[in-house]
């Protein structure tokens, strides 16, 4: 099993799906000749030609809008939006069209488009190369939202999305694009959507806290778990992987076990996905809760440049919250 980073795993998934299914096409800015500014589509144009790995004009709405038309005709487009921060010009096509086509046509016109886009901060990208807009898609019925934290999941989840029948926003955590490595199985495999993964189990039975995270924050949560262990905290870290539909059973099972929850995300706090998780958990398991559910998140400001590490949740901030819920 070759050691790969997330970029390579995404590239591998795209290549295998394109080999497997001639209907799969990749399109976006700089994805062809250049192979993507993060090189995630590297080599695809060489192998599949400029018709299946297409450099487009600079227009996200055109990329998504034409991808929808392709999908309606039967293709399986996998457009790339270069940074999630630039997805908003396509927001109308995503919200008004992509998300609603199956529904409003009575099931006649599904549009299975998988939109890949890098998300998250920590790369000194300031306002417009750092955002984590998952909540803006989770709130829109008709879309699925996926965010892997590691290459193994990235490959298997992306393959599932491309083979699936629903539109997906596939968010790739660019901060750990290269740093998160793993032994990725060779050849095709899929990982089903909607299943979270417990990446660290709480075992001591005392001072246990469930930490919910996804994408790059899974690594921060695991770091906090390491550090926390030294201080006597036992964190159960769950990597949500699919944000919508999220794995409510896995979450509630852990909450019932630990009684304490900290949700971690990079996006601004207010109306972030953490709010949904907290609201759902207290609704379904309030009697299991020993403390309020705390959110460790980015602040409600635009994403800053110089102070990005002050902005981003880190192990300290997570452990402060852990301390609070344990000491409640």
């Amino acid at each position: 099993m070759p050691d790969m980073n997330i970029i390579q795993a995404v590239n591998d998934a795209l290549r295998l799906e394109m080999r497997r299914d001639p209907r799969v096409v990749v399109l976006g800015e700089d994805v062809g000749r250049f192979g993507g500014v993060f090189r995630a589509t590297s080599g695809l144009q060489e192998e599949f030609g400029a018709d299946r790995c297409v450099d487009t004009p600079l227009a996200e709405s055109g990329i998504i809008g034409t991808a929808i038309g392709m999908a309606l005709y039967g293709l399986r487009p996998v457009p790339e939006i270069q940074f999630a921060d630039f997805i908003y010009p396509a927001y109308d096509q995503i919200v008004s069209e992509l998300a609603k086509l199956r529904y409003r046509s009575g099931g006649e016109y599904p549009a299975p488009v998988v939109i890949r886009t890098p998300v998250g901060g920590g790369i000194r990208g300031g306002h417009y190369h750092s955002q984590s807009p998952e909540a803006l898609f989770i709130h829109v019925p008709g879309l699925k939202v996926v965010c892997p934290s590691n290459p193994i999941d990235a490959k298997g989840l992306l393959a599932s999305c491309i083979r699936g029948e629903d539109p997906v926003i596939f968010m790739e955590p660019k901060r750990v694009y290269r740093a998160a490595r793993g032994n990725v199985p060779e050849g095709e495999y899929t990982i089903p959507l909607g299943e979270a993964k417990v990446v660290r189990q709480a075992k001591t039975g005392i001072r246990q806290v469930t930490v919910l995270a996804w994408g790059a924050m899974v690594h921060t949560a695991l770091e906090a778990a390491e550090k926390g262990a030294e201080q006597g905290y036992d964190l159960e870290v769950i990597d949500l992987r699919t944000l919508l539909p999220f794995d409510v059973d896995a979450i509630l099972a852990s909450v019932r076990k630990t009684g304490r929850v900290v949700v971690v995300h990079e996006a601004p706090r207010t109306c972030g996905f953490g709010a949904e998780l907290a609201a759902t958990i207290q609704e379904k398991a309030i009697l299991s809760l020993e403390a309020p559910i705390l959110r460790v998140t980015g602040f409600d400001t635009p994403f800053p440049y110089t102070l990005e590490h002050e902005y981003l949740p880190d192990a300290h901030r997570i452990l402060d919250a852990v301390e609070r819920v344990v000491g409640f």
Binding site: G65, L75, G106, Y109
Partner: protein, 366 residues
């Protein structure tokens, strides 16, 4: 750029450009005529129904029928149509049953789209008539994407998008036409310039002299056509389709016409528009012009038309009665279907909660 307004017949139905006159069999000519008449009579009846409070909302095509019926005739049934809300004639021309049409208007249990959209937002997969959206112009990139996909798959289908002149002001018009140009997609972009976008006159949409000239920005041909001349519509659409099938890419067509009625049943044009204007356009009525043409050609007689008229009225009454006989609402659970291919846990939960609520309190009354 051709700034000449392409015509085949004049207001009196006389052929003024025989070199452009499409060769159409008599039965097809009558089918074209009948579809215009059908749309007109359906529109009339539905607006009446709406005023009586029996229908929630309606949008008519009065005076603009030739644009899309002509264009549809010029295309193959396998070509894809991406209509706006004022192109139902295209569906009817392709054989959409009036009963189903009415069920959609009522959003009842027999509505093929399960009561999910407002009246007139049809979706008819087997006719390649793609689900209509309310947001203006959002369908244009889909037509381009479909046309592009057909080309990539080496099929010779083309795709046509229809939109009002208001739609040319939208951002998506621009990106769509630019993609069509760059990827030489066999798309036909038909701008129905009917002079008004609700209360906003054409002069506020752009100071460009024509909408057709916007094609120059995308390196594709722009054609200006008399949209009330169904033969001219057929002529230019057939040319555009042939270009597309020859691999020469997209065409923008500006069809000059006029919205003689209100924008919709919610609108009152007397507040913003001089009534002399729609009056003036009656002179260019597409039905009238085509009737004169057909009569001169010996393809239509008053008796044949009277019979058609009678038949259509009966069909409408039948369809209406059929639709009003159906259960007025689709099943409760259908609200939670088709959001995704399968129903995820949270929607199953919500569906169950709603069912329990209704079981407890009875059906919702309004």
């Amino acid at each position: 750029m051709r700034l000449e307004v392409i015509k085949v017949i004049d207001d009196d139905g006389r052929v003024i450009h025989p070199e452009r006159e499409p060769a159409i069999a008599g039965d097809d000519l009558r089918k074209l005529f009948r579809t215009i008449l059908l749309v007109r009579l359906v529109d009339e009846r539905m607006l009446r129904l709406q005023r009586q409070g029996r229908l929630g909302f309606y949008l008519s095509s009065l005076g603009e029928e030739a644009t899309h019926i002509g264009a549809t005739h010029a295309l193959r049934p396998s070509d894809w149509l991406y209509p706006a809300y004022r192109e139902v004639g295209a569906a009817l021309y392709r054989g959409y049953p009036l009963r189903t049409f009415m069920c959609q208007l009522f959003g009842n249990a027999e509505d093929p789209i399960k009561g999910r959209q407002m009246p007139v937002h049809h979706s008819i997969r087997r006719l390649n008539f793609v689900s209509i959206s309310s947001p203006v112009a959002t369908q244009i990139p889909h037509a381009v994407g479909t046309a592009w996909a057909a080309k990539l798959q080496k099929k010779d289908d083309v795709a046509a998008a229809f939109f009002g002149e208001g739609g040319t002001s939208t951002p998506i018009f621009h990106t769509s036409l630019n993609f069509a140009g760059v990827f030489k997609a066999p798309a036909i972009l038909i701008c129905r310039n009917n002079g008004w976008a609700i209360s906003v006159p054409r002069s506020v949409q752009t100071v460009a002299a024509t909408f057709a000239q916007k094609a120059i920005a995308y390196g594709i041909p722009g054609v200006l056509v008399d949209g009330n001349d169904i033969l001219a519509m057929i002529h230019v659409t057939a040319e555009a389709a042939a270009r597309g099938r020859r691999g020469e890419g997209a065409t923008l067509i500006e069809a000059r016409t006029y919205r003689r009625g209100a924008h919709s049943s919610s609108d009152d044009p007397s507040v913003y528009r001089d009534p002399a204007e729609p009056k003036e356009w009656e002179r260019h009525d597409p039905l009238e012009r085509f009737r004169k043409y057909l009569t001169a050609k010996g393809e239509l007689s008053a008796e044949v038309e009277a019979r058609m008229h009678q038949e259509i009225l009966e069909e409408i009454t039948d369809a209406l009665q059929y639709a009003e006989r159906q259960a007025p609402k689709p099943p409760l659970h259908s609200m939670f279907e088709d959001v995704y291919v399968d129903i995820p846990w949270h929607l199953r939960e919500q569906s169950a909660a709603l069912a329990a609520e209704i079981a407890k309190h009875g059906p919702k009354t309004s």
